[in-house]
């Protein structure tokens, strides 16, 4: 039985299975080798945004990696054909639910300002650039602390993860109209508190 966290299997394409962003479709009736290939592609495509998203909830990079690992293991359990086309939303939904579970268990209440982003400089990112990126990120997260939990979550999904209203609807269960209103009011609040010289 396939896990379908967002009840959106009606949008599953019938002819191919892809990881959500891979341009290379994988035919139905996956062989074991193709199944592994699919999972590998899904990891390549989505691990980084998922870790970023889980970190925004958990405030802990190691825990976020654990949650993302669990998420992909859950993906391995699924009948992939049934979630094809929705893999990205499916992964974010499972990742979100797992993160919230962990958060409840860990009872973590670390404020965003104290997040220790244990980053490793990526290719081409010099230490000074990395430090600047860290500083800018912490600054923005600090402003997001002035929003409600719901506003903060939706804005991170929209502006950090680049998800559409429809994808956010699949993950959170909120209507697209509600999502639009939450983003609108959240942005309005941020425009009030963020100085003009920082925004321009």
């Amino acid at each position: 039985m396939s896990e379908n966290p967002d009840n959106s299997s009606k949008e599953t394409p019938a002819s191919s299975v892809d990881t959500g962003s891979s341009p290379v479709p994988i035919e139905l009736k996956l062989s074991p080798a193709d199944r592994v290939k699919f999972i590998e592609q899904a990891i390549t495509d989505h691990q980084s945004p998922l870790i970023g998203y889980a970190t925004s909830i958990l405030h802990d990079l190691d825990l976020a990696r654990d949650v993302v690992q669990d998420t992909f293991i859950r993906l391995c359990e699924q009948e992939i054909e049934k979630i094809s086309g929705n893999v990205k939303s499916w992964l974010f939904t499972v990742c979100r639910n797992r993160s919230l579970d962990v958060l409840r268990k860990e009872k973590r209440s670390q404020p965003l300002e104290e997040i220790r982003w244990q980053k490793v400089a990526g290719p081409g990112l010099q230490p000074d650039e990395k430090a600047q990126q860290d500083e800018r990120l912490n600054q923005v997260l600090g402003y997001l602390e002035h929003l409600t939990d719901r506003q903060r979550e939706i804005i991170i999904l929209k502006f950090q993860q680049g998800l559409s209203y429809h994808e956010i609807h699949r993950i959170t269960g909120l209507t697209t109209g509600n999502i639009g209103f939450i983003i609108h009011t959240g942005l309005k609040r941020l425009r009030e508190i963020i100085p003009d010289d920082l925004r321009s």
Partner: protein, 409 residues
């Protein structure tokens, strides 16, 4: 269409989220009203600020985590073979339950009758005739997060002189023990102790013989390190032979396999015992399965990973040549390592720490019941303790101390 600057549709338009049926009307309204245009500019400004400010570096799963996921994926037979526990429960007919219970009871009885004791003697090399007859092959059922061949499982061995060694980069075993001891305040179940995974939490610079595998296809050369600045070697294998802490007559062979930081590889390692000098040997953390057909050992070495192994070797007579380690990477033979004992050599600090890890793990696992006790573990830990230990090793000593307290409680 009349629009106010407060209308959420302006935000949706600026973010490209407006539905087609409203798009034209909203665009017309914006074009006709400078206030609305200014509002759109303000939304796009904050959009740019958030998008650039919230960008995070590309974080990736750790190589061991990625490998664990792929092991699970490889362990699945395909979509038709994937079934959740819930679906299996739904499909279970009521009359099957007593039948299944009876079957489990029968299998359990069979296993208990055949299962060797916890202190199974180590593999004898010199006198194969005293070996027990072929035991039944007891394969643990595959689980979601366990390695293909879990620690403490059976290692196939058809030839008493050779032993294939598993390449397992897994390291979560220590975390499980830490949670049990430090958080739950109890010693872990013996079968939860996975020596190989505990060893893999540490990096060892062993001072014995070492070998580097250099792929001919990559035309390795010290001056040709490529754009990454990383050597093109495939993997390095190092070793050290020291006295076995719990068995003075035996030797502890420590093996450390280190991957290239950037590339995965397939590695096969085999220990070849010298029949002239070796009476018996065993891979710590595993139970030998004599005479069973050789299976595929885990051989995938993820980029950047380190695999540590430990063997106990019992010499049959004084001698320095205890055999060799032969290995290959990606199908190409690498220089073998001769296991030559130097009785005068002082063990390295890393080897002494590795010996402590092995001793503690064997004690927790009950593998040497009656031989290893808390006093031996405590004595070894006291020898290791110093103010200059790295933090991870200091934490490990604290874990040992806590486990000994739990044992005494």
């Amino acid at each position: 269409m009349n629009l106010e600057p407060e209308d959420p549709r302006l935000t949706a338009h600026a973010l490209g989220e407006l539905e087609a049926d409203e798009l034209a009307a909203v665009e017309s309204a914006i074009a006709a009203d400078p206030l609305l245009q200014a509002e759109i500019d303000g939304i796009r400004e904050i959009q740019t600020f958030l998008t650039s400010g919230l960008s995070t570096p590309d974080e990736h799963l750790l190589p061991a985590q990625r490998e664990r996921i792929l092991r699970v994926a490889r362990g699945r037979s395909g979509p038709s073979g994937v079934r959740s526990i819930a679906s299996m429960r739904d499909a279970l007919h009521p009359w099957l339950i007593p039948a299944a219970a009876a079957a489990v009871l029968a299998v359990t009885t069979f296993i208990l009758l055949w299962m060797p004791g916890e202190t199974k003697p180590i593999k004898t090399v010199g006198n194969p005739t005293v070996e027990p007859t072929t035991p039944p092959e007891i394969s643990p059922p595959p689980t979601l997060i366990e390695p293909i061949i879990p620690d403490r499982s059976l290692i196939s061995q058809t030839d008493p002189l050779t032993l294939g060694l598993p390449v397992l980069a897994e390291k979560s075993g220590l975390e499980i023990l830490s949670k049990s001891i430090l958080t739950d305040g109890r010693l872990p179940p013996e079968d939860a102790v996975k020596l190989g995974e505990i060893l893999n939490n540490f990096q060892f610079r062993l001072s014995g013989m070492a070998s580097i595998s250099r792929s001919a296809a990559k035309k390795w050369h010290p001056d040709n390190r490529g754009d990454t600045g990383v050597s093109n070697h495939v993997a390095t294998l190092s070793s050290e032979l020291i006295s076995c802490p719990w068995q003075p007559s035996a030797r502890l062979l420590l093996i450390s396999l280190r991957a290239n930081p950037l590339t995965d590889s397939e590695v096969k390692i085999t220990y070849h015992a010298n029949p002239e000098t070796v009476q018996s040997h065993r891979l710590l953390g595993f139970k030998a399965a004599d005479g069973t057909a050789a299976g595929d050992l885990p051989s995938r070495l993820p980029a950047g990973s380190v695999v540590n192994l430990a063997m106990e070797i019992e010499p049959s007579k004084p001698g320095t040549d205890l055999g060799s380690l032969e290995w290959s990477t990606d199908g190409e033979d690498a220089p073998p390592i001769s296991l030559v004992l130097n009785p005068d050599a002082e063990p390295s600090d890393d080897a002494r720490f590795a010996a402590l890890v092995c001793t503690w793990s064997e004690w927790l696992a009950g593998d040497q019941a009656g031989i290893i006790n808390a006093d031996i573990v405590a004595a070894l830990a006291r020898e290791i303790a110093s103010s200059t230990l790295p933090p991870d090793r200091t934490e490990f000593l604290n874990l040992i101390e806590r486990s000994i307290h739990l044992e005494n409680e």
